[in-house]
Symmetry: D2
Amino acid sequence: MSIRVAGIPGSLREGSLNKGLLRAAVELAPAGMEIKTYTGLGDIPPYNEDVFAKGDPEPVAVMKAAISEADAILISTPEYNYGVPGVLKNAIDWASRPAGKSVLNRKPAAIMGCSPGLGGTIRVQHALRQTFVFTETYVMVQPEIKIPSAAPLFDSSGRLTDDNTRQHLKKFLEAFVVWVQRFKS
Amino acid sequence: MSIRVAGIPGSLREGSLNKGLLRAAVELAPAGMEIKTYTGLGDIPPYNEDVFAKGDPEPVAVMKAAISEADAILISTPEYNYGVPGVLKNAIDWASRPAGKSVLNRKPAAIMGCSPGLGGTIRVQHALRQTFVFTETYVMVQPEIKIPSAAPLFDSSGRLTDDNTRQHLKKFLEAFVVWVQRFKS
Amino acid sequence: MSIRVAGIPGSLREGSLNKGLLRAAVELAPAGMEIKTYTGLGDIPPYNEDVFAKGDPEPVAVMKAAISEADAILISTPEYNYGVPGVLKNAIDWASRPAGKSVLNRKPAAIMGCSPGLGGTIRVQHALRQTFVFTETYVMVQPEIKIPSAAPLFDSSGRLTDDNTRQHLKKFLEAFVVWVQRFKS
Amino acid sequence: MSIRVAGIPGSLREGSLNKGLLRAAVELAPAGMEIKTYTGLGDIPPYNEDVFAKGDPEPVAVMKAAISEADAILISTPEYNYGVPGVLKNAIDWASRPAGKSVLNRKPAAIMGCSPGLGGTIRVQHALRQTFVFTETYVMVQPEIKIPSAAPLFDSSGRLTDDNTRQHLKKFLEAFVVWVQRFKS
């Protein structure tokens, strides 16, 4: 069996640590799991229900297809202002519609994040979990990846080089395989 | 003494109830308070630190000026997916930079919201309060305005017509005057 | 197959609506599910790690046994001061120890609640979900039961008599059967 | 002018780091501020509205008096299971009654905490801030004290010896003086 995962970064910044964390996940994905990174976040227009009523703009349709084709989603996101980056939340707001029949409904998910400072993305992860109650998205409970003081764990090209973190990420992804399978059937 | 308030809606939808609530606030503002609604939310680009590093895009500069010139801000917002509308959070992410010296720092604020359903915007208000801890924005503690089942309180033109709600909003704004004055000096 | 559920009320009050909601759940439990209400909440001493180090006090041991013997837990709780009732959280603090090997670990759970006012226990439910991330307790995502203005739904003896609510509770419990079974194996 | 502060620890453990943090605050309180530690947390019975209806039990009356006589409160608390220690929340549940006329209403407050692990009490502090919206308790917004990996900052007798942390705590308390004065009048 093969599990297709849509990897979604929460930041648009070129040198984003969380993009680096997601690249490491792509690299470390266990046999039977393929993570494909969604790269269109910067193209999603501001959510407007009046626009939605006329049909999804092209970039939104592309994002929904990426999620729909996947068996699960993996979000790697920074925390902005003790909350979800507006850019990421705006994409989720689009993806969540129509409510109850969206591409997020009953989709397994995992959330991870790292921060340059001490917070380790603790708050954004809880905020996303709260949002995913509404969309009935099944977020893996444990283990968690929330890494503080993360900059030194990456090399100058943005590659995650810290061994402990790579091991932890590998176990996280192995647990994610088990989690996703719980919800297959 | 006169208090200038920047009114910020959290939704782009034309017929938004929360825009209606904000219009009612403009109308009911007590003597000595003037609420000027910021209308550029739909023009704010997705927050990208690389873009920020090169300077604020024009619509961001306009928003920051609107907040900077005001003594306080008043947010009227719906709740999307048990959280802050991405559109609004994205604007706050821009407004919050540079961290520690932003237009949000040490600015008094109030948050209100209404919902068509039962939630009454409870969750989005707590999420915004959490964000405003980071930005050191002083959110009024009580009273709160979080109105469930709000559609029937407005007429077909989107005017808040319910008398109890108008009275409650009036008291909310009077308390806001007192709150803002606490932080003047 | 039979599912044994430990029903845990969040309030000590004799006439608690949430105790009434739990009684209704006992009554409406689908075939194959038996809900046994834990009634010792008032006997749990204040959590103190020094006491824990010497061994669980008798009432704590009783509670842990009740949870341990069950396949799942069902919490019915009011919201106190926009958060978890201290009484309930204190019991969870005991139940959560030793961390990683507690009776809460990998246990399926569901949370429900009703309130006399408008909040419908929205906040306490999110706070409990957050706590249950730490304990790796698997809380059912949807449907939710969070009922505002609940007093008129019960008769003077504290029996849930409102038909819509009873139907909703029945579906909630049927979904809970499916949820619990996902985590058996 | 003199500011009397009721210091409230969130843990009952003898060797609690957060008790140590509170002792350091007592020691470092700026001229004009006196912090008196409340030590009766372990005596507060489980909150029960039926008991409250008959009158506050003696230990509750003592706690309410300690808060009532103070100009402000200072909480130093660990985080239990990603939330507020039940023991502390139970005390707050008592202190919050009667709602709207309690000893917590319109009382300035500050929250601090340290943890042996990485979390730094981030979550419990947000949960308390949420609770204090209900009670209209005015929690200082910035600076924050939320210290991860805190054990090495204390000596074997539980005294906070780390110089940076002591400096930070001193500034925190000086800011608290300013915050409390805003709400005097």
